[in-house]
Symmetry: C2
Subunit: 319 residues, 2 copies
């Protein structure tokens, strides 16, 4: 326990896309009779997604993201229908539409068409829908980009209710891809490093992040990415939490890291800028009272929580 | 701190495939001039791998796993040559051979042909070679199974020194795949659950494990897998450590989990058996003095360390 000041930011907000209430009942994915029953179930419903866009039924208050298996084809051609699991016994699916076929739906008053980040940040649907929406989005994005066998080039067939694609030519079996990404805060005493991607809103600063590469541990990936992006050497790395991030198919692995050097050298291919931030400045950003209006990512994103825990606990986050 | 007994198992052994000494210098992967220089470097060397087999130069004591860029093609046709990084300035590569072209090499006295697990467990090469061997194995396995574009089926081209494959037809860019796997010990008081895969050596018991699925966090994947494989509900989940596991391209994410139920229901599709083990029994297994000769996985595997930390610290491993 160090003697640095403690900030109390109040009760922690909810991290997005986690704590799914679905039972995935993976053992039923190959059970044709069960799947037929699920599709015909009175409470069956699914999420309609095309590319980055999600179709919602407009409503006062929160929107309804569920379409019955009979309603979905009226929105456009359903390329794949995947079985996500059971929500209190009600079967849940993902329906993959073309992004192009969704565009004209934007004209309809009874529908709201937007992307999943906006849905989460703006709270457009009941919170319980966010994890299965993430599951559907990640799985359907994989189907959209994996119609062919990477081993031999033949067209593949959907099996296991959307959880596998098999190649009829070379017999290879292909499973959905999930890309591990490390996202981290390098810390030295009372300060830490944040960066800005050119894609960010102009006031936003966030944690550094990057894909885990073949042949490295999470801890090695954290040290490599921090060194590559800002030229800082890191020592100890502590895991913090994780979050599915279906843009298109990542899992974010959040860490705190002990910074061992001071001078920042920004990799301008990756970042627009990076600099040290004091805990007090971060507290002002989290509470949206920063004098220059600088902000952190919203609570739906794990970066918010990684930063927040450092503001609250200081360098105690490194054990 | 609980009052359970503490076992002192001595200094911890080294986890396999981590703590790479290579600098991956990712920024040079697209630099043709630098790559040409690396290939011609006097100390350039690479690992020759075909499928599960690795080619080593036989020697008294430890084998030498490095072949110069001139030596590699004499072993067989090199399908892809990938740049792994610099080892104290010496360029390191991976050379992908056909498993079939390696078979006849087994007759040669000057070569040792075996798989990477055996190399690690038996200490056939100097320890510093294990991480780059894992990097090469994972990257080359990906190339072996991804010659075609999953988006359109066309043949893809290797770019970025082996770190990307581009599709000349649809222009899609494809990156090496790393599959996150959770591997965990479900704990209740002084005991924990181990399982046996039918593939294991007859005396070996280990942690449960399974792939992280799209749309779930590490913690959710741990709870789902334990429930699916042995029917036990878990509460708190604590990250322990991680390890690249290039068989063919996983990262193992090690966790301890708080078991909330008692009755084990074994999923016989996944496991041959599973049962509760007391800490004292695990200590005997780790120290190879179990009365029935039961064993844990070797120290090269993260399961060994996950089990060992529970034996040493008891349920304090759950925070």
């Amino acid at each position: 326990m160090n003697v640095s000041s403690r900030h109390d930011l109040g009760p922690p907000p909810q991290l997005g896309y986690i704590e799914s209430r679905l039972d995935r009942v993976a053992e039923l994915r190959g059970d044709a009779a069960a799947l037929k029953e699920f599709a015909a179930h009175a409470r069956a419903g699914g999420y309609a997604i095309g590319g980055e866009l999600v179709v919602l039924k407009s409503a006062a208050g929160v929107c309804d993201p569920l379409f019955s298996p009979a309603e979905a084809p009226a929105l456009g051609r359903v390329h794949e229908s995947v079985f996500l699991g059971l929500s209190d016994g009600a079967p849940r699916f993902g329906f993959r539409l073309d992004p192009q076929s969704i565009e004209p739906l934007k004209a309809r008053n009874d529908l709201t068409i937007t992307d999943l980040r906006s849905i989460a940040v703006q709270g457009l649907v009941a919170a319980e829908h966010l994890p299965p929406l993430a599951e559907a989005k990640a799985l359907l994005s994989w189907h959209a980009r994996h119609s062919h066998c990477p081993n031999c080039g033949a067209k593949t067939e959907v099996v296991q209710a959307g959880w596998r694609r098999d190649c009829p030519a070379c017999k290879a079996e292909h499973f959905p891809r999930t890309d591990p990404v490390v996202i981290m805060l390098a810390i030295a005493g009372e300060r830490c490093v944040l960066g800005r991607s050119p894609r960010f809103a102009p006031t936003m600063w966030s944690c550094l992040a990057g894909f885990v590469e073949p042949g490295e541990s999470i801890e090695e990936a954290v040290r490599r990415e921090v060194r590559e992006e800002v030229g800082i050497a890191c020592g100890r790395v502590n895991y913090f939490a994780s979050q599915p991030w279906p843009f298109p198919s990542s899992i974010m692995i959040g860490c705190h890291a002990e910074a061992l050097s001071d001078a920042i050298v920004v990799d301008r291919d990756e970042l627009e800028d990076a600099r040290w931030f004091e805990r007090d400045e971060l507290a002002a950003m989290l509470e949206r009272r920063h004098p220059q209006g600088l902000t952190t990512p919203p609570p739906v994103a794990i970066a918010h929580h990684i930063i927040r825990s450092f503001v609250e606990d200081g360098c105690d986050v490194i054990r």
